[in-house]
């Protein structure tokens, strides 16, 4: 599993940081307040290695927004936040218009939108910088336990690779950490590497 060098990972971190910047801008427009998103690291591991530590999953329940992508490479992208944090993010984004209780009815849709903004921003940055376009499904939102999530990630045996982006999101004073996970087939990973190589070839 040495397809990706440090250089590749650096390039991907840069691409996703640009995506994160775009997502932050879109979110700031909606929230009317400064939103900062950063991607401190990108990791590519085999899905067998994935566990609660690599995803910093602890006990409790998680909100997961997922979209399926197809094109030069196929992937399922899943954005994970703890359920508590997900609720707080949504409540911050909505301002003080309603209580946490009332939020429940909006949570599902709002989380879909939040995930959609972050996922699309990362994808559009990849499209611009690495020069390919992908098709995507609409986002789905599910709430699950860490075990259920790990089980699902490991289940997809035709996607043996996992690209994990650690994401920091700050809205006003609240700071939240989440993970964006891309499930990749071996062919998809190879294609991704080819595109990153082309990009690196252009700049060197």
């Amino acid at each position: 599993m040495n397809k990706l060098s440090e250089l590749h990972l650096d390039a991907l971190t840069e691409v996703f940081s640009i995506g994160a910047g775009r997502a932050a801008l879109s979110l700031s427009e909606i929230v009317g307040d400064e939103v900062r998103i950063s991607v401190p690291s990108v990791q590519v591991i085999s899905s067998e290695e994935i566990n609660s530590t690599t995803l910093s999953l602890n006990d409790g329940r998680f909100g997961a927004v997922s979209q399926h992508f197809s094109g030069p490479f196929n992937a399922e992208a899943v954005l994970l936040f703890t359920e508590d944090q997900a609720l707080k993010i949504v409540s911050d984004m909505m301002g003080s218009q309603m209580s946490i209780d009332e939020l429940a009815e909006f949570e599902h849709e709002a989380m879909c939108e939040l995930g959609n903004i972050i996922l699309n921003a990362c994808l559009s940055a990849m499209a611009d910088i690495l020069n390919f376009t992908l098709n995507s499904s609409l986002p789905d939102y599910t709430v699950a336990s860490a075990d259920e999530i790990l089980h699902r990630l490991k289940e997809s045996s035709n996607q043996p690779y996992v690209m994990v982006l650690h994401i920091d999101l700050a809205i006003e004073k609240r700071h939240t950490a989440g993970n964006l996970v891309f499930l990749l087939s071996s062919a998809s990973l190879t294609n991704l590497v080819i595109h990153v190589d082309q990009f690196l070839g252009k700049i060197s």
Binding site: M93, E105, A110, L123, A127, S136, L138
Partner: protein
Amino acid sequence: MNGISAKPFDMKDIFNTLNLGVCVVNADGKVLLWNNWIAKHSNVKETDAVNRSLEHVFSEPVSPAFLTALKNTLAYRLPVVLSTALHRTPLPLYNPSDTDQQQSRMYQSITITPIQSQLDESCCLIQVTDSSTSIKREKMLRSHSEILKKEATTDGLTDICNRRFFDAHYEMAVADAKRQKHPLSIFMVDIDFFKSYNDYYGHIGGDNVIKQVATALKSQLSRATDIIARYGGEEFVLVMPYLPREIAEQFAEKLRNAVFNLAIPHIKSRPYNQITISVGVCTGIPENDDNLLNKADTALYQAKLKGRNRCISLPLCEDEEYLEQ
């Protein structure tokens, strides 16, 4: 829409009958399709919308977030959702049934999906649903489920917790006390000579006594951590964490007094001629298979044997009793 005319339905009819707003714009943001739903709710006819820029079709401004989303979908071919929670009313759409002078905009959920036209032009399909009905429905379901949840855990006669709630709460309270190593007290309370009260005063009178006793016992509780439940016919149980054994004993005495002070006449009850209770209490830090509830029940049995209208306290483990003696 022409390629599917062999179907038994005219797709245009279906398109116009849909109970959601559908519109298609091309890469320049010009409207290509505009269904009846969106015409009705925007008050803009299809003929006035088609071939005009979506942004300028309406007489009121469209939200900037909607325009950004549309632009992004056209540029990157990625689908976008605009949730009610974060946008409320991106498009100037109204419900014609609202007769108010000051109409308010309809709450909307919007999805924008990239599609290709048959001329291979990149377009966007915009779907709009009215989310005010789903918000109303969800509010109603939630208030129903709250009522049902309350009913499922409340005793119908006394309005205190029922046995089902107690069973679940007891298990959690014991687990908490075990984990945090703090004392837990269980009080078993039984109304003395209740059967003879029922026989003499009738069942309605009996029910009334149960209600009054439950209220008197409940009024003694002040901490959020404490609960009282109806355990069976004329039996009640209280669960209280963090009390030292002496305080628990004093509290049992308070319960007994509270009921005694109700001074409900009961001429078949000797020697007091009024309603009294017996209380069994067990306090301790639970370990392994210790059973606080059984111990409290044994204490209650002893209180009955020793003449009723009294409280008996037992420690959870026998060693403590030896130490105290």
